[in-house]
């Protein structure tokens, strides 16, 4: 079914038309959209004119102030720390400390090898994928090299899509952050291999950011790249363990014919509160934290935070795009569902899940599967609350 399947059932033909009898998109709606576009455009032009006026005024004032200062006794050489971040970064979540680079070694920015072409990008809106020198389907391998010479790890074939799709959907002006990946002590080089050539980009795990080989730009990756790279570059971290098990669940799901059981009842959503909180209430809890690692959320086109709560070595709760993961028995549901319970104990307290594979059981809340149990060696290893869809 990679291209198109020739053996299509006859009901496929019934889905070629519109799902509704009366077309939903009408001339009325077209006109309303046009009016809104015109109004938005007019507002934008007025705002741009105001900005030009303000900048002109500020520019004049700045020239005057500069002239006064230069002529006066207040002039002194500015001191600045070249290593200071230009904008504050949240502190990284627990358990993500990288093995420290040897401070006495000279930091190498990992230049492109003789067979590698440095990827060059322009800071312009739109999909970053449109600027890449290759199509995602052309990439046959991705290798993670560094931080020291000779160190390299291949990205598993079945995970290439994680990095490629993250890159593809990045909107650069949104994802760019201050600083330069080439200065990071833990920077890695990503080498993308096609049939004909190899291309190179940097990845800075300290900031979850891609960077250009020649420097000059650093931009955020998404949360799934972050977790994959933790698996590859920091395998002892709790995030790497989480990534490994979730990947196992994903592969099981790909290979299963039947996942959802239509006959299983939907339980009251209050039974899925974890420590008395639902998804939104956990969201509120995490907003109180200042720590986190930034990621580019391609769904919303904005910046999100990867966070954790609890001890550094073994966090109690992880948070990433639309998902809370409860990793210890510090948190439980009203039925006492918690990390450590066996599958038999779970069935006794909660009943059959609405959907299941060996590793992942999922329970429905409303229209969506939103409470999940991840099993390892017959016991709950993680509980998860997710956003709809």
């Amino acid at each position: 079914m990679n291209g198109r399947d020739n053996k299509e059932p006859e009901w496929f033909g019934e889905l070629k038309g519109s799902p509704v009898r009366v077309p939903g998109w009408t001339m009325d709606k077209i006109k309303r959209t046009e009016e809104k576009a015109t109004a938005t455009s007019a507002r934008g032009q007025r705002a741009a004119r105001r900005r030009r006026f303000v900048f002109a005024g500020l520019g004049g004032a700045a020239v005057l102030v500069a002239a006064i200062l230069l002529a006066g006794p207040w002039t002194h050489p500015a001191k600045s720390d070249p290593n200071a971040a230009l904008s504050p970064q949240p502190t990284p979540p627990a358990g993500t400390e990288m093995p420290p680079a040897n401070a006495s070694e000279e930091i190498s920015p990992l230049p492109a090898g003789t067979d590698e072409e440095a990827i060059r990008l322009e800071r312009k809106p739109g999909k970053l994928g449109d600027q890449l020198p290759f199509q995602s389907g052309e990439v046959v391998a991705i290798t993670v090299k560094g931080p020291h010479e000779g160190e390299e790890v291949p990205v598993p074939q079945e995970r290439l899509f994680v990095i490629l799709q993250s890159l593809w959907w990045i909107d650069l002006p949104v994802a760019i952050i201050d600083g330069d990946a080439i200065h990071s002590p833990n920077v890695r080089k990503l080498v993308f291999s096609t049939e004909k050539r190899q291309y190179a980009l940097l990845y800075d795990p300290d900031f979850n950011a891609f960077g250009l080989i020649d420097g000059g730009m650093r931009f955020l990756a998404d949360d799934r790249v972050w977790m994959l790279m933790q698996s590859l570059t920091n395998p002892a971290s709790p995030w790497a363990e989480l990534d490994g098990i979730l990947e196992r669940a994903r592969i099981e799901l790909e290979n299963t014919d039947k996942f959802i059981d239509e006959e299983t009842e939907t339980l009251d959503r209050d039974r899925f509160r974890v420590n008395g909180r639902d998804y939104v209430e956990w969201e509120t809890q995490f907003k109180l934290l200042s720590s986190g690692r930034q990621f580019y959320d391609s769904l919303t086109g904005s910046i999100g935070l990867i966070q954790s709560m609890g001890e550094a070595v073994r966090p109690d709760v992880f948070k990433f795009g639309g998902t809370f993961v409860f990793a210890t028995d510090a948190n439980a549901t009203p039925d006492g569902i918690a990390v450590g319970l066996t599958s038999a104990e779970t069935l006794e307290r909660l009943g059959e899940p609405n959907a299941r594979t060996d590793t992942k059981w999922s329970y429905r809340m409303g229209d969506y599967l939103r409470f999940h149990l991840i099993f390892d060696a017959g016991k709950i290893r993680y509980m998860m609350l997710t956003m709809p869809a």
Binding site: W11, L15, T33, P125, G126, D130, A389
Partner: protein, 180 residues
Amino acid sequence: MEDAHWKYVEEMDAAAFRELMLTYGQDVWDLAFVLTKRHDLADDVSQDVFLKAYTSIGSFRGGSSVRTWLLAIARNTSLNYLRTAFMRRAILMERVTTDSTSPSAENEAISRSLSGEIWEKVLALPFKLRESLILYVKYELSVREIAGLLRISEGTVKSRLNRARTQMADRRKEERAYER
């Protein structure tokens, strides 16, 4: 307007904007409706999609077709609307319950508006299966295109399509058995 023409457009004039909406509007609306299962949300999503296209046509570089580009925006916008609605309902302490044994008036109205019984079965599919199936069947995207649009692996697309087909076949079989 030819697909290739759009990648050279830096700003849209009124005529081009009208043409874009006339050409692709129903496709966008249909996808928004299938994903949100609501007429009003489909209206809002469609408007948002074209407003975004209006302001960001300059960023379209022709890496995909214009239709695929618009469908990707429609899918993301639909999902964002659903999640925002979920957060708002939860914050306002409203409980939205779905009881399959007694459809609400809203569900009945949607049911009556559908163009065929097949669509009732499609709308009853879980979101992830529904979106993959419709992108494949109605919009005739390839597995690779769907994987890129949904940011999942091709294996996951194939798996979802297989499960969607199985569920649809099961429901149709049940219906035929009931009618006998």
